[in-house]
């Protein structure tokens, strides 16, 4: 199965997002490079608003991801509560 991936700038705003993704997607692996962290997952990967809010203790709008997002691959399905990357249709 092909991987999807998403990468963020390695900073304090991204840290809870990365932690939430790693907790919600047991198959995901995080690869750290200078200045960035890239998360690979076979087939699909989901980012959940609630999981991020649990970590930060404050409201999070998923579109805030754009500020620290570097790159991604796969088809996107996004609503107010989750963003899923996948190679499924």
């Amino acid at each position: 199965m092909s991987n999807v991936f998403i990468a963020f700038q390695a900073n304090e705003e991204s840290r809870p997002v990365v932690e939430a993704i790693m907790a919600d997607n047991p198959n995901a692996t995080a690869v750290e490079s200078p200045g960035m962290v890239k998360i690979d997952a076979p087939g699909h990967l989901t980012i959940r608003r609630e999981s991020i809010e649990e970590r930060t203790g404050s409201r999070y709008d998923l579109q805030q991801l754009h500020i620290n997002l570097i790159t991604l691959s796969g088809h996107i399905d996004e609503d107010d509560d989750q963003l899923t990357l996948s190679w499924k249709h």
């Binding site: 960035m36 754009h66 620290n68 790159t71 691959s73 088809h75 249709h89």
Partner: protein, 516 residues
């Protein structure tokens, strides 16, 4: 009860629909085709523009908000970088030559992309596509500006960055990226999207903005990594646009599939050729390297691009024709390109050098099948010659590929000891190519590519001298006349890094940074 009940906020999907639909119009006193002359003439059939959706569903209100936040962050970093003379913290002044290539060859492309998206955004009849193109057009203009601002601090202290726009239209190797975008911007709107949104943004842009920018962080260049990642976060939106537009076109009509396949073949290859510059930036120009070009190619082209083409197979789309040759090239192109820049260093507003022994050991480990066998002996020979006072420098001008405009420096598929060379005849003239794929692109549209402005041809025809230059006068030096036309500072902007003003200044400034 008079208590006002607040209306429930629309969800993301409804908000997107409300902000991107119903913004167009049907013309009344002029036919639609006259007002929108371009969105049919390539033969692409669109039956329902409403099927176009931006997967991120970003609307203008959210766009301004988040772009504003990104700008504040970026300029805070640039300010801090400047206030602290942070350019003194980079690993080595050789690194700055990668930034010279960036401001010379990449930043002007952002401006071309801005113009291209503004143009196609005006000419699509579907509102969703127009909104997406409009946002991307603004993004690209922002990239041009932020890159120029971020790199301006280096321009104050280092040579070879003072005249990038002037050079973009004139200097020999900059015709490679320039011709890519001029080709795309003069195509129809759907071909433009396939070229830029899909082939360049989705399949190839990661290779430019991700490992190289991580390399900038590794080399202490906070200014560049910040503009790179800030731009790349827009690219992730552009990538979703790229995959959306290709799916949209393929799903609208089966007749679109063969047209698009031909464009994918063409634009993958053209984009791959442009990235040759990035390959050598990563392997030769970063003093501290994050990964080799070959490793980056495996991650971002073979794995990511491979997944994409596997996915598109359901439409009958196959991987681009040049795919296998490009994958073979991962072992070669950075070495072949660097060798070319080394031997044309007199005509190049950046410095070159022979890698150190440690760097050659790194290259040998990353390229176990090719470096020691094919490329190390040549570099060591040149180093030995330079030490004896015979620095190898090429005085004649190379044959250029009419399509990609790169000198014929690449080798045959399957035989890296033989230069690859192809030719075609058109209206009684001969045209030359670096590969089967560039030849095929020409043969399909010779009326377009026979007009290519090829720097070497123009130099030999006498079109690259300043007005008033007299080539018949005694002692005329054509190379110096061309460099005068480029407005390069001979002896400062060009030749070897070793002994350059950049090298000496950086060493002196670093000394001052370490003590009084």
């Amino acid at each position: 009860m008079d208590t006002r009940v607040p209306k429930k906020k629309l969800g993301l999907k409804d908000r997107y629909a409300a902000m991107t639909r119903g913004l167009g119009w049907e013309t009344t006193y002029q036919p639609m085709d006259k007002v929108f002359p371009y969105d049919r003439y390539e033969g692409i059939k669109i039956h329902d523009w409403d099927k176009w959706e931006d997967p991120f569903r970003l609307t203008m209100d959210a766009y301004w908000k988040y772009q504003g936040e990104k700008e504040k962050k970026l300029y805070a970093v640039i300010d801090a970088f400047n206030q602290n003379n942070a350019f003194l913290g980079i690993t080595d002044a050789r690194y700055v030559n990668a930034l010279k290539l960036f401001i010379q060859g990449v930043t002007p492309l952002e401006y071309y992309a801005h113009r291209g998206f503004a143009h196609v955004g005006r000419h699509f009849t579907g509102e969703g596509a127009r909104v997406a193109c409009q946002m991307q057009s603004v993004d690209e203009l922002r990239h041009y500006q932020t890159e120029t601002h971020a790199l301006s601090t280096y321009n104050k202290f280092f040579n070879g960055m003072h005249h990038s726009n002037h050079w973009f239209d004139r200097v020999w190797y900059l015709s490679v990226p320039k011709s890519f975008f001029e080709d795309a911007n003069t195509a129809g709107p759907f071909e433009f999207l396939t070229a830029v949104s899909f082939s360049f943004e989705y399949v190839l842009t990661n290779l430019l903005f991700v490992p190289f920018m991580s390399g900038a962080a590794y080399n202490g260049d906070m200014s560049t990594v910040t503009f790179g990642f800030s731009a790349q976060s827009d690219e992730s939106r552009h990538m979703t646009l790229g995959i959306e537009c290709i799916k949209f076109m393929l799903e609208q009509d089966p007749g679109n599939v063969p047209i698009i396949q031909r464009w994918i073949d063409k634009w993958f290859w053209r984009g791959y050729r442009v990235l040759t510059l990035v390959a050598m930036m990563m392997d030769y120009m970063l003093p501290k390297r994050v990964m080799s070009w070959k490793e980056a190619w495996e991650i971002y082209a073979e794995q990511n691009g491979g997944a994409l083409f596997k996915d598109l197979a359901r439409y009958g789309i196959r991987e681009p024709k040049g795919w296998k040759d490009a994958c073979e090239g991962k072992d070669h192109i950075s070495h072949q390109a660097w060798a070319t820049f080394y031997n044309y260093t007199a005509a190049t507003p950046m410095h070159t050098w022979i890698p150190t022994d440690e760097e050659m050991t790194w290259l040998a480990a990353k390229y176990p099948n090719t470096f020691d066998k094919l490329y190390r002996p040549r570099l060591e020979y040149w180093r030995e010659q330079a030490q004896q006072g015979n620095r190898f420098s090429n005085k004649t001008l190379p044959m250029l590929c009419t399509t990609c405009q790169i000198p014929l420096l690449f080798t045959e598929p399957g035989d890296a000891t033989k230069i690859c060379y192809r030719e075609s005849d058109y209206l009684g003239d001969k045209y030359h190519f670096c590969s089967d794929h560039c030849k095929e692109i020409f043969d399909h549209e010779p009326e377009k590519y026979s007009q290519s402005w090829l720097p070497v041809h123009q130099i030999y025809q006498g079109n690259c001298f300043k007005p008033g230059t007299d080539p018949t006068r005694e002692g005329f030096d054509p190379l110096l006349a061309v460099l005068d036309y480029y407005e390069m500072n001979v002896g400062r902007d060009n030749f070897d890094f070793e002994g350059s003003e950049d090298q000496k200044n950086f060493a002196a400034w670093r000394g001052q940074a370490q003590s009084n």
